[in-house]
Symmetry: C2
Subunit: 178 residues, 2 copies
């Protein structure tokens, strides 16, 4: 049948590609399916229950975890792997809804600081339980404790390749209790 998308091609068609072995393919295919299915699921839960996208949630979450609830645009963008244009649009919409405000930075007159309003604080406080429950149910609960740790290690290694400078990683990274 000679499938051509991930597996071996016929010898005479080979270029120089190292195609995926069965086990690699099987692992990747499942991850790819998760990539396809999980984000829309998180989005739809959050949109339905709180009117937020998952990306909105991450932005508000990071703000809520920061001393003074204030973060610079460019930092917010890097931490969420977003381009500045995208973040700019998102922040504009969040500002129109009253969840954040933009302030000209004192130190750098090019820069803009984003501040989480009380309304925004209440918003994410309201949205958090449902979202956490979703993550628990669909990601953590199906795994054993050991697998949760394995996942952490695996994800860390992949992330180190995706994001060598570690700008993307600090999110939700405050391990201050337990």
């Amino acid at each position: 049948m000679n499938s051509c998308s991930y597996k071996l091609m016929r010898d005479n068609e080979r270029v120089n590609t190292r195609w995926l072995s069965s086990r690699e393919l099987s692992s990747w295919a499942r991850l790819a399916s998760i990539l396809e299915a999980l984000p829309p699921l998180l989005d739809s839960q959050l949109r339905h229950d709180a009117g937020l996208t998952h990306f909105d949630y991450r932005v508000l979450a990071l703000l809520s975890e920061t001393e003074g609830r204030t973060v610079r645009m460019s930092f917010l963008a890097k931490a969420n792997n977003a381009t500045l244009p995208r973040l700019s649009h998102v922040i504009q919409r969040l500002e129109e809804r009253g969840y954040v405000e933009r302030l000209a930075s004192a130190e750098d007159r090019r820069a803009t600081d984003v501040w989480l309003t009380d309304e925004g604080w209440e918003k994410i406080r309201f949205a958090a339980p449902g979202h956490v429950e979703m993550v628990r149910e669909h990601v953590l609960d199906p795994l054993t404790e050991e697998q949760v740790d394995q996942l952490g290690t695996i994800a860390e290694q992949i992330l180190r390749r995706l994001d060598p400078d570690g700008e993307l990683r600090p999110i939700y990274g405050k391990h201050d209790d337990d």
Copy 2:
């Protein structure tokens, strides 16, 4: 500092939510970052090198792996976790570009079959090496063989929760060699 998005709230704020422990949080945060970063990366590589989205690629890949290169719309949709409207738009664009054709199904007059043209076959054949290289470099290579297997098991368990009926899983699932 009392972060509110994933971790424990103050006792007096607690509702009934089981917040994430440090280790759970750390694993989930990393996975969430991958969810945010990997799909855009795959998209941009494919768009740049072949003018396809990752979703386009999955559609063409499934077609290319199917006997007769023909698959019904509704099956294509389920296998890719897409809604029918979304798939319909995507197929329309692929058809305009000459990569697929739509045929009225003989068995069911409501149904539409999608057929991968020779041009479409060449397209994915052309796109595959670069995409596979990307997957290798950013997902498989950073992991040990053992971790690749662990990832497969973990992903399978999560997927079983996301997709209990297994409609999403068969993709790329032909393990016919190795």
